[in-house]
Amino acid sequence: MNWRAVRAVAAKDLLEVRKNRMATWSILGLSVFFSVGMPLLIGLLPFAAGPSGGDLGPFEQLTRLLPPGQQDLPIGSRMVVLMLGYFLAPLFLIIPLMVSSIVGAESFVGEKERGTLEGLLFLPATDLELYAGKVLAGFVPAVAAAFLNFALYAVMVNLVSAPIVGGAWFPTVPALALAAWVGPAVALLGVSASVLVSTRVETVLEANQVSGLLSLVIVALMVGQGSGLLMLSLPVLFLIGLAIYGVDVLLVRFGAAVFSRDRLMARA
């Protein structure tokens, strides 16, 4: 494997994404919404609910899943902790998923749309090196964006909730595991699926639509959490991450195996 060629392809794609205002603003907008906007909104809940805290209905049952130290908090504060620390934490996975999907979906079909695919295929890189470069180009910024956003989310959560919870409490251990273990898995899932799709469709729009289906994984996690069916404990997170990595390996291997310069060129 010629890693210099792989790195060059990935670096070129990253540079292109960085100069693509639409993609940059989409990623920034998403980051601001999830990492800044949501903690702010949720953090205001206890104030909106008033001193009595209101009635949480069935959600009150869920607050019993909180660690013992947090069970004693007022109901509004418990709700904030539950929402920011548990229910919405999986939503953070949208960031690596979307970043990797945006970059991955652009990879081959984007080059085709911009008329640069032929030049790419004439490069002296093997099929595997080209494919690896494209996967790397989506994976690296997705993981970087995920970690940055997680840090920002943690800061925001503590800023808005420390006064009512009584101090900094986030990230929790499961949230850290979610970011460090499941986040990269989801990033790889997004990029491996979208690059694969990008070799087989005719437009970036099609690639984005197919890649968008992956967000169902995140929705499933959120529904699981919200319904109380799935509490993202460490063992559960480990298994979820392992399963996603397994799918990643299959997708990358399958994508690299079926990637064919000849087929791409014949359709160009």
């Binding site: 292109e16 093997t126 000849d262």
Partner: protein, 310 residues
């Protein structure tokens, strides 16, 4: 002389369309070889096959001694390709485009910056080296694409319609560059449907029609093989009279093929007949100002071939 390209019975189909059909030819190293043919004749497909980007349905080839389908990266590392559309990255600067190519082509790291700067200067792009290429004119993009094709100092260049869409000044620049490549001893395969371009630049040409190589050789060889003797043009100071035309036409072996206001186009088998025709014209009162054979052009050869292939 070493052989740069040897193709034997190359074929490739797309669905039911046979894009390249049993093409065989050789290109010696250092030659500028023209691939001619109308759009859809198979020129671009042939380049893609030889660069190992497309797989053949049948046939074999050696490019710079390598098999393009088992050692595609090896072949491409030693070839430069200018694709029909410049295929440069519009969001990147000219410098970044060349830097990217230099990295993938494995230019030694300490040499990358120097090589890129040299090419930017050589192709008159240094002033705008750090601007996004998206704002460049078509001619500038084409020059950048040509610079990119040369970034790794290739032995063999495939130039696919290098002057398509360029204005005359930019086309001339490209022609001069191809001339420069020939002087440097590089092998060039030039795909074009501009016959004047091929005639001016190529040592030999191959003519493709419907995927098949229908002729191969120098322009002179092809015209001798495919066309009758070159016509002779007699030019007169005054309008051609019936008497002059009649006397010339009466010379044994000479036929008047075309009568213009002040010229006659003759079929004359040799210089003896030509001299007799000039004498007859002068004898009939014609004031001859020029006489000579008009060499067949590549255009004559090309259209004769395409007509035969139709």
């Amino acid at each position: 002389m070493a052989t740069a390209i040897a193709a034997d019975g190359l074929s490739r189909s797309f669905g039911t369309v046979r894009a390249v059909d049993g093409v065989s030819f050789e290109v010696p190293a250092g030659e500028v070889f023209g691939l001619l043919g109308p759009n859809g004749a198979g020129k671009t497909t042939l380049i893609r096959l030889l660069a190992g980007v497309l797989l053949p349905g049948a046939g074999s080839a050696r490019v710079l001694g390598l098999d393009p389908w088992t050692d595609g990266p090896g072949v491409r590392r030693r070839c430069g390709v200018l694709t029909e559309t410049p295929a440069v990255y519009g969001r990147l600067t000219a410098r970044q485009n060349l830097g990217f190519a230099a990295e993938v082509f494995g230019v030694p790291l300490p040499e990358v910056a120097c090589r890129v700067n040299d090419l930017l200067a050589r192709f008159s792009l240094a002033d705008r080296a750090d601007e996004p290429v998206g704002g460049f004119s078509k001619g500038m993009k084409q020059r950048l694409a040509l610079a990119r094709a040369l970034v790794h100092d290739p032995e063999l260049l495939f130039l696919d319609e290098p002057t398509a869409g360029l204005d005359p000044a930019a086309s001339r620049q490209v022609h001069e560059m191809v001339g420069g490549l020939r002087e440097e001893g590089r092998t060039v395969v030039l795909c074009t449907h501009r016959l004047v371009e091929a005639e001016a630049l190529c040592d030999r040409v191959g003519v493709l029609a419907k995927g098949r190589l229908v002729a191969l050789g120098t322009v002179r060889e092809l015209s001798e093989r495919l066309l009758a003797d070159s016509p002779v043009a007699l030019s007169f100071l005054d309008p051609v009279s019936d008497a002059v035309a009649g006397e010339v036409g009466a010379v044994p072996g000479v036929t008047v093929e075309e009568r213009g206001e002040r010229h006659l186009l003759l079929a004359a088998p040799d210089d003896e007949a030509l001299a007799a025709a000039v004498g007859a014209a002068v004898g009939a009162g014609g004031r001859v100002v020029a006489a000579g054979r008009r060499e067949h052009t590549l255009e004559d050869v090309y259209f004769a071939l395409q007509e035969a292939a139709a």
